[in-house]
């Protein structure tokens, strides 16, 4: 059984936000206009978060790309009253959109604030409609959404492996953000395989997880900057 995980090397990361754009394109994320954005109703499955500390001129700033952590013990699942949020056997935390009642308990419970609520019916000008990704369903108004580790790509890769009559290799499956990252700061693979790149990197001295003390056990591992 695979356990999918991601490693983000902050020393390589340049803060370019390609991951954000790639995610928008891949997952048909709704366009949120200026007025709606000003109310904080934007949707990003992966977002670059700034941490700026100190006072001028002694400032330490950090930029941190933050997807869903796909925790081993996700806070969001426990609070969902209708069982819309679940974790599959490979550790990917997903949402059944048709079950979601929009109560937003999960958006509050998630310590990493990865979940977004659809305040509006997603709309695209008719000129753009055909260019949506056909592999990902569009979320309606009133449901919560978040990063799925591009789960649809896993399904596709698995189908392909089946057709080719072979086992699924971890190279077959890679989320859109990892694929697009220009400075090669993101890695993706099987954490159960002790020799996979992600496993090796996750044991590195620089490795850390966000809010580790909460006991959520994220499957997204960061590598800190500097030596």
């Amino acid at each position: 059984m695979h356990k999918w995980g991601m490693v983000i090397d902050l020393d390589r990361c340049s803060g370019c936000q390609t991951c954000m754009a790639a995610c928008h394109a891949e997952n048909n994320i709704a366009i949120i206009g200026p007025e709606e954005s000003a109310m904080g109703r934007t949707i990003h499955w992966i977002e670059l978060l700034p941490f700026i500390e100190g006072e001028y001129p002694h400032i330490k700033a950090r930029l941190l790309p933050r997807p869903c952590m796909h925790c081993e013990h996700p806070a969001c699942i426990k609070v969902c009253p209708v069982g819309a949020t679940y974790a599959n056997e490979e550790g990917i935390v997903g949402i059944v959109y048709s079950r979601c009642i929009g109560c937003r308990y999960c958006t509050t419970a998630c310590p990493y604030t990865v979940r977004s609520f659809n305040w509006y019916k997603p709309q695209w000008p008719k000129e753009m409609q055909g260019s949506l990704n056909r592999d990902v369903s569009i979320r309606g108004k009133g449901v919560v959404e978040k990063c799925s580790f591009c789960h649809h790509r896993l399904l596709k890769a698995r189908e392909k492996a089946k057709v080719e009559k072979r086992e699924l290799l971890s190279e077959d499956y890679i989320p859109a953000c990892v694929q697009a990252c220009p400075s090669n700061a993101m890695y993706f693979g099987d954490l159960n395989d002790p020799f996979s790149t992600v496993s090796i990197l996750s044991r590195e001295r620089r490795a850390f997880k966000l809010l580790e003390d909460l006991g959520t056990e994220p499957k997204v591992i960061y590598l800190s900057e500097g030596m």
Partner: protein, 791 residues
């Protein structure tokens, strides 16, 4: 009222359609409606070249049922090796931009009013061709001006050829200036007018003088890939980056050290560092004695004594002087000098500051001998295109071409878009009569856009080839929309950070969505309609044919190979070093087929030590004293001081006094809206200022302490006013802002455009435009002073 293309054709022309819509008003996006012309089919990934910026990344476009549904990097393309930047991904929104111009348009209202009527391509060709014939009949073909922007390769050759056979010397390069690497510095020291390659992948230490390495390099993906490698790609080596800039930019955040200096003061800091390196004798003595000119004092052929760079810097740029001017403590200055010279290979990268400040930064590389070495400044070879056949100019063309350029530039070497605008207004040397705008938006992307809009008013016929209703298209009389990059054929010659030449091939991934036409094809049709020698100079049917003819040269060069995996790269290089060329193709047909399948051709070898290519200065050496500039100048002026050809510091004339305008204005660029061309793409708008969570607007960054003193709170709306104008923007407190500098991002504030860009935010370029640099004729960066008040 429903209205489709068939109805329109029945009505027999644009005028009818415009009347049918009432009042003659025409919204350019209403015609023709979306139509799916593309064949249904299975999923395909088609290789082409991204056109969202100047980077030249290879992409694969996923096409399903004739729709482009996703863009991924082409793993074989050496510029980006399968990765992308946010702009590249948003290329889909550029293609399917609902506000694209869908048919040729003719202005019916006043300039800038935005009222247009659709016309046919035949009519458009007739209109342009008649006015050009008229110019030639009157014997004034030089009154045709082409203002061209970010494009390269054969399209540029075609424009030059067209102007030459037509009889005009006026191709004026108006690229977005502050995005480019410091090319003037390269010209002054190495005599080269093209872009250098900075081998950041193999450098140990990068000293960046205000260069937006991580947000606005000319080829972002390549630079970011290089950055990843520079940091952690080499076992046991981690490159060190120091950013000298007046704002804590993303590059500053990611750097190991941020050195804040006032805008425009980077140049004097470079000279201060040079002073310390000379004083401590840390420079590369062998390189300096063998391959440089003007470091020590020298005697000219006329017996005149000249001051050397060494003596000049030692006497003028004492650490105390530099420290006082920049606010950088002396010990930090000394440390930077020592770090820069001891961490070899080190690389100093500047931005397009004043030319002699760029030269000061380039001189640091020269002092350490980091020219034409791995990890240093490299000069890429050009692509071995087959040159187009020689053309005959008729008498009118010869007379026209020999006229003075409107911008008084010298040949193709120095373009002065600013002088073009000024001279158009003053009518000296003459007023242009026809202006073509190709891939440039001068009414937005230049400081003082008002100057350009006044200049355009003076020109009787302005033709824009923009596929979008940008600020300049709105001022045009005719708009002849080009295909967007994903719909057309084009060559894209670029190079890698390590100097390898790369030729990307852009091919259409879907059929054109609307009634647009590739400008290359239009230009060929225009040449045919003009007849005579002009027609003879353009014997090709379409742009693709021109491209295929020129590619013969690449095939016959017997170098390089079509793109392949990284393993193939090493193999090709090994063979080529041994004097072999074993490409994957045997004949031209195979070559062209592979080009389209893999995305292009490259030559993974950099030839070190070809001095004639690397140093094109009069001395054929790296020049600390610019003899090239001295030669170019000597005709126009008399005796000059030695220091005016040495890297030196030029104090700026600041616009506005310190009391009335207490702040420096720093205009910065972000990764998503670098050149302001992609503002109508909501994915990019949604992440414009991620460090402050700002999106869909323009903000001004103020130091929290300063803001408190002025009683400005985070999120207040404020006016930022310079002598030239004012803009209303949202105040954001940012710890990375210097106390006396306010920062505004560039990219928003379009007066025209689509639903997601028009009227959103403000253009800070409206505030600047004084203090023109004498060499480039372009406003210098960072000299504008502003005041800020609530409103």
């Amino acid at each position: 009222m429903k209205f489709n293309r068939r109805d329109f054709l029945k009505m027999g022309g644009g005028a009818g359609a415009a009347i049918a819509l009432g009042g003659g008003f025409w919204k350019w996006t209403q015609f023709p409606p979306v139509e799916r012309l593309n064949e249904p089919g299975i999923e395909r990934w088609i290789p082409t070249v991204c056109g969202q910026c100047t980077g030249g990344c290879g992409i694969l476009v996923r096409v399903i049922d004739g729709w482009a549904v996703n863009i991924a990097g082409n793993p074989l393309h050496p510029v980006n090796r399968g990765t992308l930047c946010p702009k590249g991904i948003a290329g889909l929104q550029g293609l399917y931009d609902p506000d694209r111009i869908r048919t040729p348009l003719k202005r019916i209202g006043n300039r800038g009013e935005g009222r247009y009527q659709p016309i046919t391509w035949e009519e458009a060709l007739h209109l342009v061709s008649e006015s050009l014939k008229d110019l030639r009949q009157k014997g004034e073909p030089h009154h045709l001006v082409v203002l061209g922007g970010r494009h390269r390769g054969l399209m540029r050759s075609l424009w030059d050829r067209f102007l030459k056979s037509f009889g005009s010397p006026n191709y004026i390069d108006n690229q977005f200036r502050w995005e480019e690497p410091p090319v003037e510095g390269l010209f002054l020291t190495q005599g080269i007018n093209s872009l250098p390659a900075y081998d950041i992948d193999n450098a140990q230490y990068i000293l960046s003088f205000g260069s937006g390495i991580l947000e606005s390099p000319w080829s972002p993906v390549q630079m970011l890939r290089g950055y990843g490698h520079f940091r952690r790609g080499r076992p046991g080596i981690r490159g060190r980056l120091v950013q000298i800039e007046s704002r804590l930019s993303f590059t500053g955040i990611k750097a190991d050290e941020w050195v804040p200096v006032q805008p425009g003061a980077e140049g004097i800091l470079a000279l201060g560092i040079a002073h310390m390196i000379i004083k401590e004798g840390l420079y590369h003595k062998e390189f300096i004695s063998g391959q440089t000119f003007g470091f020590e004092s020298w005697t000219g052929p006329d017996g005149r004594e000249h001051l050397g760079f060494k003596e000049f810097v030692l006497s003028e740029y004492e650490p105390t002087v530099v420290s006082k001017r920049t606010g950088v403590p002396i010990d930090q200055l000394i440390r930077l000098a020592r770090e820069f010279s001891s961490n070899q290979l080190s690389l100093a990268i500047g931005y397009r500051d004043r030319p002699f400040h760029q030269m000061a930064v380039a001189a640091l590389n020269g002092m350490m001998g980091n020219i034409d070495v791995s990890g240093g400044v490299l000069i890429p070879r050009s692509i071995p295109y087959q040159s187009l056949p020689p053309l005959k100019e008729d008498a009118i063309a010869q007379r026209g071409s020999s006229q003075k350029r409107i911008d008084e530039g010298k040949g193709n070497s120095v373009d002065h878009p600013y002088l073009f605008a000024g001279n158009t207004l003053s009518g000296k040397p003459y007023k242009p009569k026809v202006l073509f705008l190709y891939y440039t938006n001068p009414l937005f992307s230049n400081p003082d856009p008002g100057l350009f809009s006044r200049a355009l008013q003076e020109i009787p016929l302005v033709v824009s080839f923009s596929p979008y209703m940008d600020d300049s298209a709105r001022f045009s009389d005719l708009i002849l929309p080009d295909h967007t990059p994903l719909e057309r054929w084009q060559d894209d010659p670029v190079f890698l950070n390590n100097g390898f030449p790369v030729l990307g091939i852009r091919q259409p991934v879907i059929l054109p969505l609307y009634q647009t036409k590739a400008t290359g094809d239009f230009l060929l049709a225009l040449a045919r309609s003009l007849g005579g020698q002009i027609q003879k100079a353009f014997p090709w049917n379409d742009f693709k044919e021109v491209m295929m003819v020129s590619l013969k040269g690449v095939f016959e060069a017997k170098r390089g190979d079509t793109f392949g995996l990284q393993f193939d790269e090493a193999w090709t290089r090994l063979l080529q070093r041994g004097g072999w060329s074993v490409p994957s193709y045997k004949n031209f047909e195979e070559f062209s087929k592979l080009l389209l399948e893999k995305g292009g051709w490259w030559d993974p070898v950099y030839d070190f030590g070809e001095r004639d290519r690397v140093f094109r200065t009069p001395s054929r050496k790296f020049e600390f004293y610019s003899q090239g500039w001295e030669k170019a100048r000597s005709s126009s002026s008399g005796e000059e001081k030695d220091s005016s050809f040495l890297p030196h510091w030029e104090e700026s004339k600041e616009a506005g006094n310190e009391k009335e305008y207490p702040f420096h204005l720093h205009v910065f660029r972000t990764m998503s809206l670098t050149g302001g061309r992609n503002a109508n793409q909501p994915w990019l708008q949604a992440m414009a200022g991620q460090h402050l969570f700002e999106r869909w607007k323009t903000w001004v960054e103020i130091n929290p302490g300063t803001a408190k003193r002025m009683s400005i709170s985070d999120g207040d709306w404020v006016w930022v006013e310079s002598k030239r104008g004012k803009v209303r923007v949202k105040a954001r407190l940012y710890k990375g802002a210097m106390p006396d500098v306010v920062n505004i991002p560039f990219g928003q504030g379009h007066a025209s455009g689509g639903r997601w860009s028009k009227g959103i935010g403000e253009n800070p370029y409206r505030l600047i435009g004084d203090d023109l640099d004498p060499i480039t004729g372009y406003p210098t960066h960072g000299t504008t002073r502003v005041k800020v008040y609530k409103g």
